[in-house]
Subunit: 334 residues, 2 copies
């Protein structure tokens, strides 16, 4: 039910995923009448074995406070979907709804992986070197060194699970690469990472998220900095795209040039299309929750569902739990 466009995006995306992956089963959670109507009789019939509808009488509004949603919306589509994950009736929950409420509900219902103090949000960005995973993107405004270290452990395991990178390179986001730079948390986190078994490459700066001079697979930072950096990058892409459009729309000559350049620009735009990078995973919880961008369209929401499929297939939560336990044990024995 969530996101800026509700069922008009989530349902067409869900049906496309069902069509593409014959092993996939989806449970749509929300107002039964609305859902059934939007899915339509023919799709309901086609996918009767793999499409279930689960009624939830409430919805969390996009601007509702997480605390209020948690307290007053015990039958919201969000809550019911996460309950299904906890009960083992679903392997993952995908939502385009209110991020804060989704995180608060997920944390309350699913609980944390033992040894993890705070959940974090991770996603990928396209970069000169392929792609970069970044966390935390906004779950925690303040982080201790220990939090940052735990994010690194979880992030590395996610990257190892879903890519073919055996030893992901980990960078710590900072305002310079020299040892003296940074705040106390970052400096202390660097020490934890240096003495760990992770493939830690040191401090990286903001440009490394998309165009660093060295390859880095996973960048760790607190949720305030990560969120600002992510949105700065989104803003810049929007600004440049808008500027190019304006430049090619100047006069008939530039319009002609734009016409000639269009196929190339389109191919490039596709390669960095944010919809193809949609879907952020909540790490640290005892269950899989994927957050789609609220403004996602059908293609973007489909990407988020597919991300859930990949993470379920690779058993990400189980692997992360094992790694957290291993690193805890290592530290205790040290």
């Amino acid at each position: 039910m969530g996101g800026d466009h509700g069922v008009n995006v989530t349902i067409p995306a869900a049906l496309k995923c069902l069509k593409q992956n014959s092993e996939l089963t989806l449970i749509l959670v929300g107002d039964e009448t609305v859902l059934k109507q939007r899915v339509g009789e023919s799709a309901l019939a086609s996918y009767q074995d793999r499409l279930q509808i689960y009624h939830a009488s409430q919805c969390v509004a996009m601007d509702e406070s997480p605390a209020k949603a948690l307290k007053n919306k015990k039958d919201s589509s969000m809550r019911v979907a996460i309950d299904l994950v906890r009960q083992g009736k679903a392997d993952a929950c995908v939502s385009a709804g209110n991020t804060g409420a989704l995180m608060a509900t997920a944390r309350f219902v699913l609980k944390m992986i033992p040894g993890v103090d705070r959940p974090a949000i991770i996603s990928t960005l396209p970069s000169l070197h392929g792609q970069t995973y970044v966390l935390d993107l906004g779950a925690n405004v303040d982080c201790t060194a220990e939090n940052l270290f735990q994010f690194a452990v979880m992030g590395v395991e996610l990257v190892r699970s879903v890519t073919d990178i055996a030893q992901p390179k980990v960078g710590l986001l900072n305002i310079g690469e020299e040892d003296v730079k940074g705040n106390e948390q970052v400096k202390a986190a660097a020490k934890l990472l240096e003495s760990s078994s992770l493939n830690y490459i040191g401090y990286v700066e903001g440009d490394s998220l998309t165009a660093g001079h060295v390859q880095v697979d996973l960048i760790v930072t607190d949720g305030f900095v990560g969120n600002v950096a992510l949105k700065s990058i989104e803003g810049t892409a929007k600004f440049i795209s808008h500027g190019l459009k304006t430049a090619f729309n100047q006069n008939w000559l530039t319009k002609l040039a734009g016409l000639v350049a269009y196929p190339v620009l389109k191919t490039f735009k596709y390669s960095i299309d944010p919809r193809r990078y949609n879907g952020a995973s909540f790490l640290g919880l005892r269950g899989l929750v994927i957050k789609s961008h609220g403004g996602a369209d059908v293609l973007a929401f489909k990407t988020a569902i597919q991300l859930a499929e990949v993470e379920v297939k690779h058993n990400v939560i189980q692997k992360i739990s094992e790694q957290v336990e291993k690193h805890l044990a290592l530290r205790e024995s040290a």
Copy 2:
């Protein structure tokens, strides 16, 4: 002497500025022999009234620790140049050298404006709405609400002085626009700004730096977040520019398209050329210091010198001092 390219950039840029502005006098500070040789006899003769050379026997290395530079390099070009500002022999100091050392030296020599606790670094970014001023870009990794408020007061006065914007719109960088978002410092800074006479518009997110949905003239944040955001933006621009080049270099057809599109792309690239936005001002000191990007080329370093010219002409330091005093008095009387 500073920057990645030293006198090969700084001197040609200086000579260009002298040529363009017949009211400008420049003092080159550094190794006298090197400087005289690089300037050349004919330029020395042409600008004999407006070009002085001031010997300094030392140089601060780009990777030297600020504390060490301050202690051991009392005759560095950087230190001597800032001394000239303190002595009133120069109106401003422009350097492409080591940022940390420049800030530490400037703070030690020039002292703070009474009422300002911390200096901040401010610069501009091109945006959908024209341009956005941002501070702090890296002088302070941790900031209190009071620091952030002082940054806003100083930044507003700078914008008012050098643009025709009478009441600059001030935004506080945060990870959401709702009141509940953010860390404690940001929330407390919002309260200070709300009860001030500044034109405070509320929280803005990272995309507002270049492409916000509302216009904002000045964005205030701490130096860690500001620096990461700035570098994220620079990285994204580099990533997109590189991606476009690759896309147009794919095959002869795309190369042909690139040839046709080239003039348009070039015009657009010029409009966002970071060299045309080079130069960050240190605010809060009792003297004008402009930091150029270390990697600046001649055009970029020229922009930094011109920024100093503008700020001197508009008497920025004096105006900021008056505003800080006014806001302090207002608060005491409240």
